[in-house]
């Protein structure tokens, strides 16, 4: 049933409802304000007597309160107007409802709904086109617009949905010939080729992925496919790196993060106990003699990296007693604080060296702290910091 019919049905139901109750009103309880106030006045007197019985009012005040209740009742009865109610013939209401209800409801709906949203359901109440019909329409369109790369792309996708993989490849190829710089097309075309080839990567599909990454090295979809290719080559390390990059490129709250996080987690299972390549930061720390003299050898030196923005908590940390510190540490993913937040997942970090008496996560008043500049994790950098 079309949307229009549904709307009509809803309006008709609403109109019938009103008309029904217009001619067959809900039964009234026949209580008028006068009888209500009289009943309540009597009830208040009864409650007053109960209060007297419960010693909640004394005899003298009881009599006064009794008078007050009577006076109040008298005033309330005076206030009640003596108006004769009647039931009229409300044909005008009937006409008004029949005219106004559809006009008001559809009018308000049209006013509130953006045109592009309502035009489609209202102008095309027919059944939506089937995929086959859509493909035919696009083919017809392309007969007169054969250089429309977008249309070829949509046709390729439509054929793919229809299971016509050969036709889909042809359509994508046409689109590719017209506009080989369309990132979206390159990714879709590659995906389709992989699907058509029983999830195997062909030379052509790998070439398309590379081209996509040349256009945008951080394109998440291209990175995802590149990661899939790496897995097919059993290069799990590369796959993980590519997917981590894809994950980093996705905005927080992105809809694809969920899937990618799951894939990464599955990859961990596949990879088993294998060591993953990871980024590392080598930190050389010079602690001056003055500082060493002022501190106990039991004090801690904490070397950690934190995100450039956001929460100041350490991403990866090493905590060593001053007496055991050799002057150099290497921070890797193994030193990460949270499993899902390894060092390698960050593009840029700041290195912090802190000497602390307690070794507490919170910075104390006597702690000495030195920070590095912002550093790129992917460079596997060597940092030199001096604590003076």
């Amino acid at each position: 049933m079309s949307l229009y019919l549904w709307f009509a049905l809803m309006v008709i139901t609403s109109s019938i409802w009103i008309i029904w109750f217009l001619y067959r009103p809900l039964k009234s309880n026949k209580i008028n304000l006068e009888s209500s106030n009289i009943t309540l006045g009597k009830q208040k007197l009864l409650e007053l007597e109960q209060d007297l019985h419960q010693n909640l009012i004394d005899e003298e005040q009881f009599n006064q309160a009794k008078e007050e209740i009577s006076t109040t009742l008298a005033i309330e009865l005076q206030q009640v107007g003596n108006i004769q109610n009647n039931t009229n013939n409300n044909t005008w209401v009937l006409i008004l409802i029949l005219v106004l209800l559809p006009l008001m409801s559809v009018g308000i709906y049209q006013y509130l709904t953006p045109k592009n949203n309502i035009v489609q359901p209202l102008e095309s109440p027919k059944k939506p086109l089937s995929l086959g019909q859509s493909a035919e329409n696009i083919v017809q369109y392309l007969q007169t617009n054969e250089h429309d790369a977008q249309a070829w792309k949509i046709l390729g996708l439509t054929y793919f949905e229809l299971g016509r993989l050969d036709l889909s490849i042809d359509a994508y190829e046409k689109s590719y010939q017209i506009n080989p710089k369309d990132l979206r097309l390159l990714v879709e075309y590659a995906s389709m080729m992989i699907s058509a080839n029983d999830s195997q990567f062909s030379e052509q599909s790998v070439k398309l992925i590379k081209q996509a990454l040349e256009i945008d090295p951080n394109a998440p979809e291209a990175l995802y496919l590149a990661g899939m290719f790496a897995v097919s080559q059993r290069d799990f390390n590369l796959a993980k790196g590519l997917w981590q990059r894809a994950l980093n490129a996705m905005p927080k709250g992105s809809i694809d993060r969920v899937a990618l996080v799951n894939i990464l987690s599955e990859l961990k299972t596949v990879e088993g106990s294998k060591e993953m390549p990871e980024h590392s930061i080598s930190v050389y720390v010079d602690v001056s003699d003055e500082v060493l003299k002022s501190r106990s050898s039991e004090d801690f030196i904490m070397i950690y990296v934190k995100a450039v923005k956001g929460r100041p908590m350490p991403i990866a940390i090493k905590k060593i007693k001053l007496k055991d510190f050799t002057g150099q540490v290497v921070l890797t993913d193994q030193d990460s604080v949270i499993q899902g937040n390894q060092l390698s997942r960050h593009d840029q970090v700041i290195t912090v060296v802190r000497i602390s008496a307690t070794g507490s996560a919170m910075r104390g008043a006597s702690d000495i702290q030195v920070l590095s500049k912002v550093i790129n994790v992917a460079d596997n950098p060597f940092i030199h910091l001096s604590v003076k």
Binding site: L3, W6, F7, M10, S14, W17, I18, W20, L22, P25, S28, N29, K30, I31, L33, S35, S36, L40, Q43, K44, E47, H53, Q54, N55, L56, I57, Q61, Q64, A65, E68, T72, E76, V80, N85, N86, N88, V93, I97, M104, S105, I108, Y109, L112, I118, K252, G253, I255, D256, R257, V258, S265, P314, I317, K318, K319, I338, Q339, N341, S360, A361
Partner: protein
């Protein structure tokens, strides 16, 4: 298509709300009972269409229809089904739809359960409720459409705020809204009386059960919110004087005053001015709370929207409601004169004093909540008003109110004497005094000592009152039992809140695996921290063994979760009992086999919510008192 039907259903609901106001108004003016009587049937249809819209939106969540912007923004395929359903009210648009649905449900309840009301009064009330409904439906349709479609449909939706993926979300907002919206009913009763110019016994008597019911829901909703914050936010606190919490607390204080003021007005015909003002301010404050939460003025877990258009709409609505009702009040002020007299020492005076104290307490919260916002808005600097302000201002106002609360039921109506009162209660006071002296020997903390005194004071007086009534045959009523429950609830809450604040222990500590740490007489051993993987999060799960006097009493497993959206969440592990809670929240890994943890020892914390539940139960019992089931003959 279903989504468009839902949207259209909402439009139809608006049309019916308009008709619910217009046709009965014409009927009243023309003295046409058919037209004026249409209000009930029009209301039923309005409710039906809102319900249809609500069900369609819920269905969109359940079937993951991400073509709907609201669904795509607040749910995804991995969200457990129960949270998909509750996600409907997890953000602004859906919660407003729930608000409109609850308002319509309250209105239907009024039309069904107010059969003792004269039809003309009921019709006026339904017209006012229809007007409020128009305001909220317009707000929904013009600024907060939950059925808005997306041009490009995402294959996956976003994450519902992890804080809201909890049982608390399923029940806390609906209960709170029941309270907020419920205050619209006594407000509608008052306004209909002002419009009719008949501030009589009828509206006073029949509006009280509705005020009690709304107060019960509001109490329950606030209690649930406090309990939820305690276990979900990972701070171990139960009340933060957060402006949004205050926004619900202010109408609660006024509603408390209103149910007491109404009890005098309906029995003795006094305090009509006061009762009218309280009914107006109760609902106005619930609208103010909505304005604060929805305008983007406040930022907290409760704040749904930072949209000035929404803020402006509610502000205009607020001005119309408050301005209109106060203008009506001024116009009809002469009708509220009462000749009923009472002396300085009487039950009426006692209730009036308590009412004034409650309103003063509300004003202190109002000031502490809005003053910093006002300064900020005027660029006069930022100040933070927190617990120290409220402890210094709010608490001293409430102490006399609590002391008087249990004395007032002993006072006689209209006039009493100190001799009679002291004669009646002197032995009780001696007993309370002795118990207090014994407590003073055992308790070394002034605040706790004060709380113990107030607890003994309230419980002793309540029990004496109960035994007194038990001796008088036929004098027990649900209203009386409800009052006893509510007053004892206050005592239980007071003691719980003070003891947990004063004697609670909170430690942020570093724990090594298998190395015991002692806190508040309990030994804690961190046994392990293992990786954790849930449907839409990953993280770590700790295992802490808790020993008391060398006997193991609990295995607690706090979790630290990292949701796929990157939002971290602490799931505290709690060993619960009526006497104390042990609360553990897992922090960060510090080094090999070493973790930061927050361990809290919270004595009597459950008494806070037990007290809240007793108050709500008391209010609910009073609602069903036989006096409100009185048969009125036509």
């Amino acid at each position: 298509m279903l989504i468009e039907i839902g949207h259209f259903a909402l439009v139809l609901a608006l049309v019916f709300a308009v008709l619910q106001v217009v046709l009965p108004t014409i009927g009243i003016i023309k003295h046409d009972t058919t037209l004026s009587g249409l209000s009930r049937s029009l209301l039923l249809m309005q409710f039906f269409w809102i319900l249809i819209a609500f069900v369609i939106l819920m269905n969109a969540f359940v079937v993951d229809d991400f073509s709907v912007k609201y669904v795509a923004s607040n749910s995804n395929t991995q969200l457990p089904s129960i949270f998909k359903m509750s996600a409907v009210w997890g953000a602004h648009e859906g919660s407003l739809l729930l608000w409109a649905l609850i308002l319509a449900a309250w209105s239907v309840a009024v039309s069904i359960f107010s059969r003792r009301l004269p039809a003309e009064v009921l019709n006026h009330i339904l017209i006012i409720l229809g007007l409020i409904s128009i305001g909220f439906l317009l707000f929904l349709l013009l600024t907060s459409n939950p059925f808005e479609r997306l041009d490009i449909v995402p294959v996956q939706g976003r994450e519902l705020n992890p804080l809201l993926q909890d049982f608390g979300l399923i029940i806390h907002p609906p209960m709170l809204y029941m309270g907020y919206v419920g205050l619209a009913v006594p407000f509608a009763f008052v306004l209909s009386s002002l419009i009719r110019g008949q501030l009589d016994s009828t509206w006073l008597r029949w509006s009280r059960p509705w005020a009690l019911m709304a107060w019960a829901f509001l109490t329950f909703g606030i209690t649930l919110g406090s309990w939820w914050a305690y276990y979900e936010l990972g701070w171990g606190g139960w009340w933060f004087w957060d402006p949004v919490e205050n926004a619900s607390f202010m109408p609660w204080l006024v509603a408390t005053a209103l149910v007491h003021s109404l009890s005098v007005s309906e029995k003795r015909g006094a305090f009509k001015h006061w009762t009218v003002l309280l009914a107006i301010s109760g609902f106005s404050l619930s609208l103010l709370g909505t304005f604060l939460v929805r305008s983007g003025i406040l930022t907290s877990v409760h704040s749904f929207a930072a949209d000035p258009a929404r803020g402006l709409f509610i502000l205009v609505f607020l001005v119309i409601v408050i301005g209109g009702s106060l203008a009506l009040y001024a116009w009809r002020a002469s009708l509220m004169q009462s000749n009923n007299t009472f002396s300085l020492l009487s039950r009426e005076s006692g209730l009036l004093v308590n009412n004034i104290l409650l309103v003063a307490a509300m004003l202190s919260v109002f000031l502490g909540t809005l003053y910093p916002l006002l300064l900020d808005a005027l660029d006069l600097g930022k100040i933070s008003v927190g617990a120290p302000y409220f402890s210094a201002v709010f608490v001293p106002i409430m102490i006399p109110a609590v002391l008087a609360m249990v004395i007032i039921p002993f006072l006689r109506w209209k006039k009493d004497t100190t001799q009679r009162l002291t004669g009646l209660l002197k032995w009780a006071w001696v007993g309370v005094g002795l118990l207090f002296i014994v407590s003073a020997l055992l308790v070394d903390n002034i605040s706790v000592l004060l709380a113990v005194f107030l607890f003994i004071w309230i419980v002793a007086h309540s029990l004496i009152l109960l035994f007194q009534r038990l001796r008088q045959k036929g004098s027990m009523s649900l209203a009386f039992i409800g009052m006893i429950f509510a007053h004892i609830g206050i005592a239980v809450f007071l003691l719980g809140a003070t003891v947990t604040t004063q004697y609670g222990v909170e430690k942020d500590i570093k724990m090594d695996i298998d190395k015991p740490i002692t806190i508040a007489g309990y030994d804690f051993i961190l046994k392990s921290v293992t990786p954790l993987s849930g449907q839409n999060y990953q993280g770590n799960k700790g295992h802490v063994e808790v020993y008391f006097e060398r006997e193991k009493i609990a295995d607690l497993r706090p979790e630290k979760r990292q949701y796929v959206t990157g939002m971290p969440m602490t799931e505290a592990a709690i060993d619960r009992s009526l006497y104390r809670d042990i609360y553990i929240a897992l922090g960060e890994s510090l080094e090999d086999d070493s973790w930061s943890l927050r361990i809290y020892y919270k004595p009597l914390i459950r008494w806070i919510w037990l007290g809240g539940l007793l108050i709500a139960l008391g209010a609910l019992l009073a609602t069903f008192d036989r006096r409100y089931r009185l048969r009125v003959k036509g």
